[in-house]
């Protein structure tokens, strides 16, 4: 079981958590995930996840024109998204705890 496989299920949660820290954009989100050690997710998956979260109303976005290139799309978490994040984190800590127990030598 590689990390990418494990990550798929929790990628939404991870992306929501990053954006919940403050308004940010795609490349910055990727860099934050990488810095946190969640590399190998794949840029496409992160952008796809952003799309899905926005469609679900968990995120809103705005375009910020850039001087040096294409406009950047900035994301913020909506109240619905925050609630989703809270529920998700609770679920995650339960799973994490349970797994921790199971995986004890």
């Amino acid at each position: 079981v590689d990390q990418a496989q494990l990550l798929k299920g929790v990628l939404e949660l991870a992306v929501l958590a990053v954006i919940a820290r403050g308004e940010t954009y795609g490349y910055e989100i990727l860099s934050t995930l990488e810095l946190a050690g969640l590399d190998g997710v794949g840029d496409a998956s992160v952008y796809g996840t952003l799309r899905r979260l926005e469609q679900a109303g968990h995120l809103t976005s705005r375009l910020e024109p850039s001087e040096s290139g294409p406009a950047r799309k900035y994301y913020v978490v909506t109240p619905v998204g925050r609630e989703e994040l809270r529920v998700g984190l609770e679920a995650w800590s339960r799973i994490g705890g349970a797994l921790g127990e199971l995986l004890k030598p």
Partner: protein, 261 residues
Amino acid sequence: VTAEDYVRRVSLELGDLPWRQRRDLVAELEAHLAELPEETNFHERLGAPERYAADMRSAAGLERRRGLVAFLRARRPRNLILLVVTLAAIGLAIGAVAWIDSYQPIVFAGGTQLPPDSKPSAGQAGATVVFRRGRPFEYGITIHNDGRFTARVLGVPRSATDFFKARLYVNTPSPAENELPLERFRPFDLHPGETRWLVWKGVYACTTGMGGGGGGITTEAIAVRLGFLWRSTTVLIPLSDPLTITFPKGCPSKGVAPPTP
């Protein structure tokens, strides 16, 4: 691969998505590629464009769309509108051409100037006259523009069954349609609602090729050369009062001299 190439190939893979959605995704990818360090190898970092598109689809839950509706939604709205407008314009043009090609506003107006000595036809509408070679012949009908646009009367072709030699006259336009200051025919515009006399003045003559013996010819329609915009055509104007001519002594065609009395 350049960023442009990469984006184009991803965009192609997402070609089934609604246009705005694809535009947003592509714009975000463009912005992303612009952020990456200069020396980044896109293939190494992002995988093949097909792979990238597939991964984004699965993460975003974007299923492949099929069918006509998806195809139309994937077009750029501006292009769709352009296409519809173009098709409508072509349709209108075809319709206009078809209409112009079939426009025939000239009708028989009911007025008939019968040849001298004619009598009402027995048992049918119209009049009958007896053919008399060399005697004066005069015959007129009225035509009327029943349509909404001016048509040009270019001429009245001779018919194979003409039994007279005559010059064609037309009355000068006047407020009272039945007044008859006649002038030699030359092409004229027949305006909507306008009525004119066409009058033949000449002599009975054997131009028909009819052999000896009896029989008769009934003229039920007059052929008129009509001009309308770029088109000129021959139209048949049915007469409600057809003229019948009878040939008690026949009328041999030219070249075969008839017995002189």
